[in-house]
Structures are given as structure tokens and as C-alpha cells.
Symmetry: C3
């Protein structure tokens, strides 16, 4: 995808976009809230009612559907797809900060903030919950409704609560379970230990 685009960014009048530097060609839809200290690349879609917190990092060409929540510490790489209603997290043992017992932990973000990374071209399906600290590999896919609690290898398809590996997917999104050649686009794959990678 060429990152050069003639289109400026578009922010719907009913959105709350506090970041003045979102990328060219990116569109922000009604009731989305993008905080000021975010990084949002070019040619992205920021769906309605989505929230992007200070400290989040969105690459180029990322499709974020509606009602998604992306927090400080979450990185979404280029050309990923984040389905509707996906919930990220950044604290593995959250409590109210008003409890005396949590005061020390919440005094410094290094104590509690865990980072999450969605790699290039991956898909996080509708309604997924992603536990902080995980990496979702390149062109991996978490099926709709998954609760992702562990790292997902490149091209791996996971599903369920907690999410477990149930197959493999091509770069184009099609399942590869029948053969190492994609029935959709013809791309071949090589096994590489417990992972796969495009052939050639």
C-alpha cells in the first residue's frame, strides 16, 4: 500500500479527536474518541464509538471497527484488522486506585502496565478480549468471541475462551487446513517447526 495519499484525514463532526496529527487518509467516525498523545498512522479507519488512549500506537492501513478500546501500551502494526467490540487491556490485576492496598502499585506505571502487540496484517475478530502482555503474530487471526490469553504465532488461527489454536490462515485470510496451498489465493506455505511461513 502506498502511504502517499492525496486525501487529508477526515474527522466526523460528532467525533472527539484530540490528536491534531493523525495520518493522511485516516477517517474517524461518530462518537469515536482519540486522545491527544496517541500515534495514528495513514489510511486507517477509526470506527464509531472507538476509544484510543494516550500512549497507544496505531500503524498505517489499520482497520479498527466500532466500539474498540485501545489503551496505553497497545501497539497495532500496519494493515491489522481490529473487529467490532474488541477490548484490549493493560493491567493484569486491576483494582480501584482508591484502595490503600493498591497505592504503591499504582504509584508508578512500570509496576502495573503490561504491553500488547498486534503484528502486521493480523486480525482480531469481533468481540475478542485480549489480555495484556501478549503478542498476536503477523497475519494471525483470533476468531470472533475469543479471549486471547497467550501469544499467537504468525498465521495461527485461535478461537474460544481461553483461545486455543484451531488451524492456520493465509495472508489473505482464508483457512489453510486442507493443504499447504491457500484455496483462495494460491499462496503456498512451508512448515517451519511448530509454525508456518509463506513458501519461496
Amino acid at each position: 500500500m502506498p502511504l502517499v495519499t492525496d486525501q487529508p484525514a477526515y474527522v466526523h463532526p460528532a467525533a472527539c479527536c484530540e490528536n491534531p496529527d493523525i495520518g493522511a487518509g485516516t477517517r474517524v467516525w461518530p462518537f469515536a474518541h482519540v486522545m491527544e498523545h496517541t500515534i495514528v498512522g495513514a489510511n486507517c479507519n477509526i470506527g464509531g464509538h472507538t476509544f484510543i488512549e494516550d500512549g497507544a500506537h496505531i500503524g498505517n492501513g489499520v482497520i479498527i471497527k466500532n466500539h474498540v478500546m485501545i489503551w496505553d501500551g497497545v501497539t497495532i502494526e500496519d494493515d491489522a484488522f481490529i473487529g467490532p467490540g474488541v477490548v484490549f487491556t493493560n493491567d493484569r490485576y486491576p483494582r480501584s486506585r482508591h484502595l490503600p492496598q493498591t497505592k504503591a502499585r499504582y504509584s508508578r506505571c512500570e509496576n502495573w502496565l503490561e504491553r500488547t502487540r498486534v503484528c502486521q496484517g493480523a486480525t482480531v475478530g469481533a468481540g475478542c478480549v485480549v489480555i495484556c502482555g501478549v503478542t498476536i503474530g503477523r497475519f494471525a487471526m483470533a476468531a470472533a468471541g475469543s479471549v486471547v490469553t497467550r501469544d499467537v504465532p504468525d498465521h495461527r488461527l485461535v478461537a474460544g475462551n481461553p483461545a486455543r489454536g484451531v488451524g492456520w490462515v493465509c495472508t489473505c485470510g482464508q483457512r489453510l487446513d486442507q493443504a499447504p496451498i491457500c484455496p483462495g489465493c494460491g499462496q503456498g506455505f512451508d512448515a517451519d517447526g511448530d509454525t508456518i511461513k509463506p513458501a519461496g
Copy 2:
């Protein structure tokens, strides 16, 4: 339910309703977004923060609670109940449209859009995720938190991730597991192969 009503439609001033022809008596609540090319019947409730995309079709008397996402290709028939936070889908293998490998697939919606139908009087419980391509039968019920991946027969109660049949429900919503007569309203049911239907 008589569709004749004396009440006009009501749109809260904090909603974004781009469809000028929603049905009489229908109410649209704060931060809901209804796109222009939708069909929304009479006497519906469109809960706050709900999104209804161009191409969606909502019947009469439909109760849609808050934070629901209804896409192009989704049909909700009369008198259905869609619980809070329900996420529909319309693409079984979503990827970013900016990947060169997906360009052909996303060039025509016939290539990727799968339709979903919620039949008359059915209930989709809170927080359900509904995979595209399924039909949820008349007066069926998906329990809260279900991930619906397959068709649901009329009056069937499903639950879990993925959702599986766990019982039957009456037209009024009560469970029928103890006997073929509803403990709530007294309606009798006849077995009909692997399905049930109201007696008489």
C-alpha cells in the same frame, strides 16, 4: 401489536440519526448512530451508543438495547430483542482492505458479505457475538455471553462459546425443560422431529 401509533419517532438530541424515515413510535437514544440507508420499523427502541449501518433492516417492535452493532446484511425481524453489547458481523475472514492480498476479495461485496437473520420474537442475550451467515429462529434465545456460530432452531435455547443447545424456551421467554407446557403462560408445545412448535 398494532403498528398504528399516535406517537411520532423520537430522536434524542445527542443521537446521530441520518435516516429521516424511521418508523412511528421508534425511539433513538443518546450517542446512537443510525445511518441513512437503513430500514428501521415502528415502535422500536434503539439504545444508546448503538450503531446501525447502511443496509441493515430492522422490523417493527424490535427492542435493541445499548452498544449494539448491526451491519449491512443483518436483518432483525419483528418483536426481536437484542441485548446490550451484542456484536453482529458480516465478514467471516476479515482482513485490512489495504493488504494487496485482499484487494480482489474486497472489490465486490458479493465476495465477502454474509447475511444474518434474527427471526420474529427471538432474543439475543447481552454480550453475544453472532457469526455471520446464521439464522436465529423464531422465539429462539441465545443466552448472555454466547458466541453463536451455527443456525439456532425455533424456540431453541443456546449458550456458551461456541453456543450449543441447552434447552427450549416458550414464546413468552420461560424455559420449557420440565414439561411441554410453559410454567409461565401455560402454552403447550408439540415435539416435531428435532424441533418444537406451539400446540394446537
Copy 3:
């Protein structure tokens, strides 16, 4: 936590806060909707896109993240943490109110409304769905993505769909599985039948 605070309540201009009496120090973020006849205590956080319905009761020091739905009949006690995207419920067998078969049931709220209680200091993790009628005990924790269908004892950690007990957590949030002494804060616990309580 001292409830005396010098800060007034703060309501972001893009929020819809109809309750003129929310507690001192409480902050309400963009696109949140707080109805008029709610009780919202002091020093709370009401995250963006969250909805709080008439009849809901929120204590002091409660952290409610984004996109949460809290209905009539739900009580959240002091210093609880409600994660992003949590969906509460208040009707165990919801149907459209426009069906003739449901008219009697919905004629009085005593017929259908079931109450839910989240006790002091508890955590409801990201994306949880909480079935009405349950009590989540003091300092209990529902892991992200849980569907809570039964009562949760004090300090119990539950996970899954449906949620089942998988461990115990300290007041500070750390897991206690290795020993009856918290590895985070050093608090000791005593077994008390099928439950635990802080020692001393």
C-alpha cells in the same frame, strides 16, 4: 480513602450527565451517559461511552472503565473496579415488550427485574458479562472475558464461560495460589470452610 475532597465533580463537555448530584471528585468522560435518577458517589471514574441507568447505585471510589453498561437494579459498592466493556443485565428472560405473550410480565418491574451486587473492592474484568441475580463478593475478581452466572465468594478468582473458580486473590489483587500469604503485599489469609479471609 478519605471521602472529603477538594475537587468538585468533573463532567466532560461531550458527556451526557443528567444527574446533578454526582459525588465530589468524580469524573465523567466523553460520550458517557449518566441518567438523572442514579446514585453516583465521590471520587469515582465514569469512563467514556459508559451508560448508567436510572436506579443504578454506585458507591465511592469506584473505577468504571469505558463502554460499561449498568442498569436499574445493579449496585456497585465502594472501591470496586469495573473493567472496560463489562455488560450487566437485569432481566433473566428478556423478550420484546411488544409481544402479547410478555405484556403481563412487563406490566410490573417486580415481575422481571433481578438485582445484582458487586461488593466492596471487587474487580469485574474487561469484557465480562454478569447475569442478573448474582453477588460478586468483597475483593473477588472475575477474569477478563468471564460470563458470571453464579455468586462469587469473597476473594475468589473466577474465569471462563460460564465462570468457575480457578484461584484466590488478595485484597491488593495478587493471586494467592502458592501460599496463604500474598506475594505482593504480605497479607496473610486464613481458610474458613470453603472461603478465605484476611488473617488477624
